[in-house]
């Protein structure tokens, strides 16, 4: 958010460097059930972001001291692979990954019906294979599909998308340049059936009007993303939907 550039991020016609208008999101792609071993999995692309999510659980909680006798805990680990960014990232969790892991765990705890599995852990793993701004949103979007794929009871499937500001314009779904050189970044995740917010961060500088405008676009974008999440599951499993007979 602190870079400077001569690049024009939004031109006089309101077009962004990738040809989008302010209220357009990047192309979405979602596939469910992509791994063998994991109980649930999903692959998501948002623009040039490529993200893989896997779920194991509910299973015995490790480390044992984190066990909750009344409900399951959701433990998410978000990781960027070394080659996912243009300047190679050293392997291992950094402070940013740890923070992102925490906020995604918390977002998911709100939707998963954790009371059904006391003392257990639901382990969510998010790997960023290729990054281009908005990886935590793509990661949470993939994790939600992976949880449904694993058959874990939840209230709803959670989509996440960011809005922000660049060249003074409020924009939906920032790309890398807009995130690096722009003036604000606001990732948000909602529960589509109620529009409750389960993840929200903001950095930069926005007026109240700008923020409200951004949130409105982001929530609408989340609803569109949600349709694709449901569609990914239906495409994967519709043929297997049983005729309930005995």
């Amino acid at each position: 958010m602190s870079g400077h550039t001569d690049m024009v991020l939004v031109d006089e016609n309101g077009l962004r460097i990738d040809g989008r208008t302010a209220d357009q999101h990047r192309p979405f792609k979602i596939e469910a059930g992509v791994l063998n071993n994991a109980d649930g999995s999903a692959y998501v692309e948002i623009g040039k972001n490529k993200v893989l999510a896997a779920v194991y659980g509910p299973r015995e909680c490790h480390p044992r001291h984190l066990q909750d006798p009344t409900k399951a805990i959701v433990q998410c680990k978000y990781n960027m692979q070394s080659f996912s960014v243009s300047d190679r990232k050293r392997p291992g969790p950094d402070r940013r990954s740890i923070e992102i892991s925490k906020i995604i765990s918390e977002a998911l705890e709100k939707v998963v019906l954790t009371e059904l599995y006391p003392r257990a852990s639901i382990d969510v793993y998010i790997e960023i294979l290729q990054a281009n701004a908005g990886t935590r949103c793509a990661g949470l979007t993939a994790a939600s599909v992976a949880l449904a794929d694993a058959g874990i009871p939840m209230r709803d499937i959670v989509p996440a998308l960011a809005c922000g500001k660049a060249d003074g314009h409020v924009l939906l779904d920032l790309n890398k340049e807009e995130d690096n050189y722009g003036q604000a970044d606001v990732p948000i995740a909602i529960i589509p059936s109620t529009d409750e917010i389960v993840l929200l961060q903001m950095d930069g500088n926005m007026t109240r009007e700008e923020f409200d405008h951004g949130i409105k676009m982001a929530v609408a974008g989340c609803h569109e993303l949600h349709e694709l999440q449901k569609d990914a599951l239906k495409r994967r499993y519709s043929k297997k939907a049983e005729e309930a007979s005995e």
């Binding site: 109980d39 509910p58 003392r119 449904a148 058959g151 209230r155 449901k230 519709s238 049983e242 007979s245």
Partner: protein, 237 residues
């Protein structure tokens, strides 16, 4: 376990999908939000009496009291063994629930790591602690044969209406077949027949949703194992 209605649509529902807005009550795997019943898992919408719920497509086995399941011994303590039954929680088998008199510390003399057992779920408490027993009839350590694992959601398909599918499998392959509620199935018979039984069960799991499955399984086995035509057996009279 809710009874399933014979004629259901095949439409898949996912968590959050609305199942009903006309005032029905939530059944299994469903909840109410703003007066509407919504799905909490991915599966097939199921109506039972005046409730609407979901029959899950995925998800692990959750033990229920009364279930008979296969398990593998994964750990041993001085007065119990720990059994993996394919559930989120391991099931402890206490020395008081086995047919032998086991002295404290002698547990490994009776059952050791890797042994397969057939046990019954006694109870599951609110914090999901499971207790099992090996004292009922038929429950025992299992040796020999083959142990395969299918999704627990397909167990009823393998058993069939009034046990019709499983009887057919046993008769046609001449194998002993025991189906655990957790989807672990034990087959014991001649080597080639066992292979056919395993393949037939995997076919049922794969095609659980198709029509005429029973006929196709019958055809499959017939091709592999010539059947004696008992109906036309004149007998020795």
């Amino acid at each position: 376990m809710e009874k399933r209605n014979a004629r259901q649509t095949r439409e898949l529902v996912v968590p959050g999908d609305i199942l009903d807005g006309t005032g029905m009550r939530p059944g299994e795997n469903a909840y109410v939000l703003d007066g509407k019943v919504r799905a909490s898992v991915m599966g097939v919408r199921n109506v039972f009496q005046n409730t609407v719920g979901v029959i899950p497509l995925r998800g692990g086995y959750m033990p229920t009291s009364g279930d008979t399941v296969f398990g593998v011994i994964v750990d041993i303590g001085p007065s119990n063994w720990l059994i993996d039954i394919g559930a989120p929680y391991p099931a402890p088998l206490h020395v008081s629930e086995v047919p032998w008199k086991v002295e404290f510390g002698d547990t490994s003399k009776y059952l050791t790591i890797g042994n397969v057992v057939l046990v019954k779920i006694l109870a599951v408490d609110e914090s999901k602690k499971i207790s099992v027993t090996m004292k009922d009839s038929g429950l025992r350590r299992i040796e020999g044969g083959r142990l395969i694992k299918i999704s627990h959601t397909k167990v009823s398909r393998v058993i069939g209406k009034s046990g019709s599918m499983i009887s057919m499998l046993k008769n046609m392959t001449d194998c002993r077949i025991t189906v655990g509620q957790n989807g672990w199935i034990w087959i014991d018979g001649e080597e080639e027949n066992t292979d056919v039984a395993v393949a037939a069960i995997e076919m049922i799991e794969e095609q659980a949703q198709s029509m005429n499955l029973t006929d196709r399984v019958k055809e499959f086995i017939e091709k592999k194992i010539p059947q004696d035509d008992e109906y036309y057996d004149e007998g020795d009279e």
